[in-house]
């Protein structure tokens, strides 16, 4: 009988609630040190996450070496390193239970909500002292600011979505791997040729599940010159029921149902598509440069097999990650945390050189076209260093580097996750229903999105 044991399902939610709530019991608990976090010798201990898991032995070793080197150079700071990154499933429980790290990792989708809910500390008065702070790309800094210009975190990574493609499949389908598609029409043609190779080969794949469909559809709409949300008369409203929205859906619909170049299996998410690419059965998908090392490592492939080009169209979606600070952290801890983030992630060109040399020796990929955290000379200097130590085929990313500057990088819309849930449905309809009414889909989704956006200040 269905659901008879009922335990597994109940356990999932029951235990999550129990953990969240029982941790709330101990909300007053703490580390036991003084409120400032300083001990009697004036040493501040800060807990930070972002430490690689034990399974990533080399990354973890490098991380711990960095911790030691940092502590040596900063004798008044001790690092209490913890595994993991920002996990929405445990974040609130950790915050409630006093277990949230002083310095915690976030994706670009998180800061707006965290700032709005006051779950991050205002670091405006301390951030000015961070070296290179002024050189950080202002567009990336904006992600960590509120409407009044207060700062709540620092970016440490970024990406913009391009097209990741399998060079071997391109060659096999008679396409030039050094000249990947630059327009959506060319993407369509290439996808058709690749899928005609048969044997389960898919020309182009895209996500449509767990908010990832909405995330990618947003980038599709940006690339067609549209927007997902726009401010009108001081209020945010849905903007995707537009010509750009229709074009994006039409292109997906054509590839899926007319050309049949998107395969039969849909409701995919990132892990599925990376697996398809890793098994050599996929021609192209929308991705940031960071996907390449993931696929190479996870599926034991070679860097030479993959190429990256900029997203066709006029704009693309950009995202990334960074660090924010526990709202209950003392000023001493915030200052120490900022020093750690700057030292470890926003490196000076000198440290970048040392780090790149070590990375090259360890086989950590160098030479991918992103992240580009800084603007102007600082970034140019860092790019030169990366070029010197590159251990990936940088020529394969040339199409991305050459054209990406012409493609505007736009950030994620407000209330991104809620909007992505709504757009997931649109993506799913287009990819699973041949007779999908594109206009009706957009109109209905826009109505729902307006409700979600009504709460945005």
């Amino acid at each position: 009988m269905v659901g008879m044991p009922g335990i597994s399902r109940r356990q999932v939610l029951g235990s999550a609630t129990a953990v969240a709530l029982s941790l709330a019991l101990t909300a007053c608990g703490g580390s036991g040190s003084s409120p400032s976090g300083k001990d009697e010798n004036g040493v501040v201990t800060i807990s930070v996450n972002g430490m690689p898991a034990k399974t990533q032995a080399l990354d973890r070793q490098n991380f711990m070496e960095d911790v030691k080197a940092f502590e040596k150079g900063h004798p008044k700071i001790r690092i209490d390193a913890r595994e993991g990154q920002m996990d929405p499933k445990t974040f609130a429980a950790k915050l409630a239970g006093g277990q949230l790290e002083d310095v915690y990792y976030v994706y670009f989708t998180d800061p707006a909500g965290l700032i709005q809910r006051r779950q991050a500390a205002d670091i405006s008065e301390y951030v000015a002292d961070v070296p290179f702070h002024k050189d950080i790309d202002p567009a990336l800094m904006k992600v960590f600011k509120d409407g009044e210009g207060k700062t709540y975190g620092l970016p440490t990574g970024n990406y913009s979505l391009g097209l990741l493609y399998n060079r071997s499949l391109f060659a096999k389908a008679g396409l030039d791997p050094d000249k990947p598609p630059a327009t959506w029409e060319e993407v369509r043609t290439a996808a058709k040729k690749i899928s005609s190779l048969g044997d389960g080969t898919v020309g182009y794949a895209d996500y449509s599940k767990n908010n990832q469909g909405g995330w990618h559809l947003t980038s599709w709409i940006y690339s067609m010159g549209g927007d997902v949300a726009a401010r009108q008369d001081g209020r945010w409203r849905a903007a995707f029921d537009s010509e750009a929205g229709r074009k994006a859906l039409q292109a997906l619909h054509d590839m899926r149902w007319t050309d049949r170049s998107m395969g039969t299996r849909q409701l995919l998410e990132i892990a599925d598509v990376q697996k398809m690419m890793g098994s050599g059965k996929l021609g192209m998908y929308m991705a940031g440069p960071d996907n390449i090392p993931t696929i190479v490592k996870q599926f034991e492939r070679e860097y030479e097999e993959y190429g990256l080009t900029a997203l066709p169209g006029t704009a693309t979606l950009g995202g990334g990650d960074g660090f924010m600070f526990n709202p209950k952290a003392s000023p001493e801890k915030i200052k120490a945390g900022l020093q750690w983030v700057q030292w470890k992630y926003l490196r000076s060109p000198e440290r970048e050189a040392v780090d790149s040399e070590r990375a090259k020796k360890s086989g950590v990929p160098i030479g991918l076209p992103q992240p580009r955290l800084f603007a102007g000379d600082t970034q140019a200097e860092i790019d030169r260093i990366h070029g010197r130590y590159a251990n990936t085929p940088v020529e394969n990313y040339q199409p991305f580097i050459e054209r990406n500057a012409q493609v505007e990088t736009k950030v994620e819309p407000p209330n991104a996750q809620q909007l992505y849930t709504i757009l997931d449905g649109v993506m799913q309809s287009v990819l699973t229903k041949e007779d999908a009414d594109l206009d009706a889909l957009l109109a209905e989704a826009a109505k729902k999105a307006d409700t979600v956006l009504a709460s945005v200040k």
């Binding site: 009988m1 659901g3 044991p5 449509s208 599940k209 299996r265 709202p327």
Partner: protein, 324 residues
């Protein structure tokens, strides 16, 4: 452990000769500690202490979260600042969410389908297994095997079966020259596909319960029916089902309670799609809590679910009590 005797004063106040009709009014403490209770406590003190540990655990890890969960439904919580009471705001926002109704409808649909598929299947399997002369133990184990698989493994396995390309089911359909199906990608089929997985994964337990119940039916009833010339169908209809009526009713209620909490299947297999066709109450609740980080809204939703399931539980308790 030594048992402390009650003090003389307490004994005198309470008295051993029952309540008095006249004289001074007994003190409050004395009324609580009436002789019967006092004796019961004294005789079973150690047992009560053991029981206390269990009660404490239940209170801390089961009842307290339920009460806190219900309270959170009326609060706006960020965990960074003290919770703010917002009255019925969270419930109002729930009703405004266009997915709210969809989730309840989908959950109701899943429960209904689960009754059609999942209620009959284990009963039929149990009856067939009970009739077998050979290999009964082996088959019993085989039926129970899926229950032992971790749910996530079951889901991933069935995802392969449902693959619209080279998946098992479409390959079978191809053998019979039937058209391939979009098992999880079709709005009409997705929910049915989820129910099939769920049925396969969970029917082992109920089958065993039915088998145990079947074993408890007196053999004389069947012998008498056979002597009267009853066919297999008649025996099933006039002996088996009436004898199993109570257990069937209980499992039916438990199934309704269990299936209304469907989560793993849509979470892993469809993510609520296609086009929200498999968004269930728990999946929406999960999104509120862990995707949007809105614990107030999630708690309001769980309170509603708690009330609905509570109604079924009351029926269940009444049924089991009346049987007792």
């Amino acid at each position: 452990m030594s048992v402390q005797p009650l003090s003389d004063a307490a004994e005198k106040t309470a008295g051993d000769d029952g309540p008095r009709r006249s004289g001074p009014r007994p003190r409050r403490g004395a009324a609580i500690l009436n002789p019967r209770i006092r004796r019961a406590v004294r005789e079973n003190l150690v047992a009560y202490l053991f029981l206390a540990a269990g009660v404490l655990c239940f209170a801390l890890f089961s009842w307290y979260p339920i009460v806190r969960g219900a309270l959170l439904g009326f609060q706006q919580v960020t965990f960074a600042e003290p919770a703010r009471w917002v009255g019925l705001d969270n419930f109002r926002r729930l009703f405004d969410d266009p997915l709210f109704l969809t989730a309840w409808q989908n959950t109701g649909y899943f429960t209904l389908l689960a009754l059609v598929f999942g209620f009959a299947a284990p009963f039929a399997t149990a009856v067939v297994l009970n009739e077998l002369r050979h290999g009964r133990s082996y088959l019993r184990m085989t039926v129970y095997l899926p229950v032992m698989l971790p749910p996530i493994v079951t889901m991933l396995l069935w995802r392969q079966f449902y693959d619209p390309g080279p998946g098992l089911f479409n390959s079978v359909l191809e053998v019979f020259r039937l058209p391939a199906q979009q098992w999880l990608e079709s709005e009409n089929l997705a929910m049915v596909s989820l129910v099939l997985v769920s049925t396969w994964a969970n029917m082992g337990t109920t089958t065993l319960i039915y088998l145990a119940a079947l074993g408890g039916i007196p053999g004389e009833l069947y012998e008498a029916a056979e002597l009267d010339g009853a066919s297999v169908r008649q025996r099933l209809w006039h002996v088996t089902i009436p004898q199993m009526r109570f257990i069937l009713m209980i499992t039916l209620l438990l199934q309704v309670i269990g299936t209304m909490q469907v989560f793993v299947e849509p979470f892993v297999l469809t993510g609520g799609g296609p086009d929200d066709a498999t968004v269930t109450v728990l999946l929406l609740l999960y999104r509120y809590a862990f995707v949007y980080n809105d614990f107030g809204l999630a708690s309001a939703m769980s309170t509603l679910l708690f009330v609905v399931l509570g109604l079924f539980s009351v029926v269940y308790l009444r049924l089991t009590r009346s049987k007792g």
